[in-house]
């Protein structure tokens, strides 16, 4: 077992949080409030020294680059949301963010998440020299995409052939949701493993 006080503290707080699994209790509340308070203070300091100072203060005050008055003004506008009467100033900053964000993103997003994805779907079902597994994979991809798209085609009632194809699309969607759920379970179990490994290895030293 370690003698490091930091590890003991971390282990104690981990157990405090785990105690919620039994029921809500003062130990859990203590750890939760401590986490929220420390996080707020930490992030405030971190962002001031790593974002506001190098990106704004240094450029504006030390280098005398006056164009940085614009982001300063927009930043102050954003904070004015705290005052109901002049809170509408924040819309200017939000409009700037949305406008610049859209300008940067739209073309790039269309290129990589729309056109490239369509291109990746348009594959030959039986490319030259391919194995049967490749043919099966490509066929599955084709059927999944087409039936999935039919399911989201709402201009025709999902009856008859359209309904049948849409139902196949639902099966593909369910498999997709199942895969996402499986990965989510894996992520959550990984977090539990991480904490358990910390307790058993770093704290107790039995692993």
């Amino acid at each position: 077992m370690t003698a490091d006080i930091g590890t003991w503290l971390a282990a104690f707080l981990t157990l405090c949080i785990f105690s919620f699994l039994y029921k809500d209790n003062p130990f859990y509340k203590f750890a939760e409030h401590l986490f929220v308070g420390i996080s707020a203070g930490y992030w405030l300091c971190y962002h001031f020294w790593n974002t506001v100072k190098p990106n704004l203060y240094d450029n504006l005050v030390e280098k005398g680059e006056w164009q940085y008055l614009l982001p300063l003004f927009l930043g102050i506008c954003m904070l004015l949301r705290l005052f109901s009467k002049i809170g509408w100033f924040s819309r200017w900053a939000i409009a700037f963010m949305i406008g610049s964000g859209a300008g940067i993103m739209i073309i790039t997003y269309l290129q990589s998440n729309f056109l490239e994805q369509i291109k990746s779907t348009l594959v030959s079902l039986d490319p030259a020299g391919s194995s049967w597994t490749q043919v099966a994979n490509n066929s599955l991809l084709f059927i999944g995409v087409v039936t999935g798209l039919v399911y989201f085609f709402f201009s025709k009632a999902h009856t008859g052939i359209t309904g049948g194809v849409a139902r196949v699309g639902v099966v593909f969607l369910m498999i997709c949701f199942g895969a996402s759920f499986g990965y989510t379970v894996m992520a959550r179990i990984s977090l539990l493993i991480g904490r358990m490994y910390f307790l058993l290895h770093n704290w107790l030293g039995v692993v």
């Binding site: 990589s112 990984s190 539990l192 692993v207």
Partner: protein, 284 residues
């Protein structure tokens, strides 16, 4: 078994105290950690593909590695960073790291500390940690113009001109491969959009298991390889033949998954048994 007893078991299992489930899941995680089972593990095509890409880069190639995560996801992405750094250093690649998440810079420092010495890699010559920069996609885009303008100093405040490795690296044109370790936004999708989509760089990386289903569609055309969650990290450890914490956690992961699958089956079984009895007008 008498019908009354079957009814009683169905009733009891339908109303089981959730803490029983918690205890069973905890046992499924703790026991394999204490007594590893050594369950078999195989690398998947996206992991193998990433391995091949790194393996096939020439010695001295420059790899840009983004640590876009924080301690909350270190259990999944930390082992990936160690395995990838070990592979890069063993192949003689130069590594330039940066972070779009504030804590990423510290985690990069920790990963370098655990790997560089083993391979004799020197700071400033074989690897550099540029630190954190706020701005997400704007920062990624700015690297295409000038890394030196975006990051005038490294994580310790040393001007880039004083670091030998950075003298000849100033934009994506000087980068051979981009590796993104991503826990969310900003992360790997932005690297794909900008570094791959706009600047045509080779991009690969790793992500948390939660975001893996969203990123797999980019493989293999836009993303040359992907490590998904702890399993991806364990697969990469297997490929580089250096077992680490991800491999140790995979037994627990497998047992816990088997238990959850069992819960789902049992839950559904008793749900349908109960519903069938309800339809017949009997008690549950």
């Amino acid at each position: 078994m008498a019908p009354e007893m079957r009814v009683s078991i169905v009733e009891r299992l339908r109303n089981i105290d959730r803490r029983v489930i918690f205890v069973l899941v905890a046992a499924a995680v703790i026991i394999p950690l204490l007594h590893p089972l050594g369950l078999p593990l195989k690398s998947s095509p996206p992991s193998s593909s990433l391995y091949r890409e790194i393996e096939n880069l020439g010695p001295g190639s420059v790899v840009l590695m983004a640590f876009d995560y924080d301690p909350a996801t270190d259990v999944e992405l930390g082992p990936m960073s160690l395995a990838l750094l070990k592979h890069c250093f063993s192949r003689g690649h130069k590594v330039v790291s940066l972070a779009l998440w504030p804590m990423g810079a510290s985690l990069a420092r920790a990963s370098f500390a655990q790997t560089a010495e083993e391979f004799g890699a020197k700071y400033g010559v074989d690897y550099v940690n540029l630190g954190f920069k706020a701005g997400g996609i704007v920062v990624i885009d700015s690297l295409g113009k000038s890394i030196h303008e975006s990051f005038p100093k490294d994580v310790d405040g040393t001007p880039l001109e004083e670091l030998p490795l950075m003298r000849n690296i100033n934009s994506y044109a000087d980068i051979d491969f981009v590796l993104g370790l991503s826990a969310g936004d900003p992360g790997l999708p932005f690297w794909i959009m900008i570094a791959q989509g706009r600047y045509g760089k080779k991009v690969g990386g790793g992500c948390t298991a939660v975001s893996a289903p969203m990123l797999y569609p980019y493989y293999p055309n836009q993303l040359l390889g992907l490590l998904g969650g702890m399993k991806g990290a364990a697969e990469y450890e297997l490929l580089i033949e250096a077992k680490g914490s991800a491999t140790k956690g995979m037994d627990a992961q497998s047992i816990a998954h088997a238990l959850i699958v069992l819960f789902v089956i049992i839950g559904n079984l008793f749900y349908f048994m109960g519903r069938s009895r309800e339809k017949r007008g009997g008690q549950i």
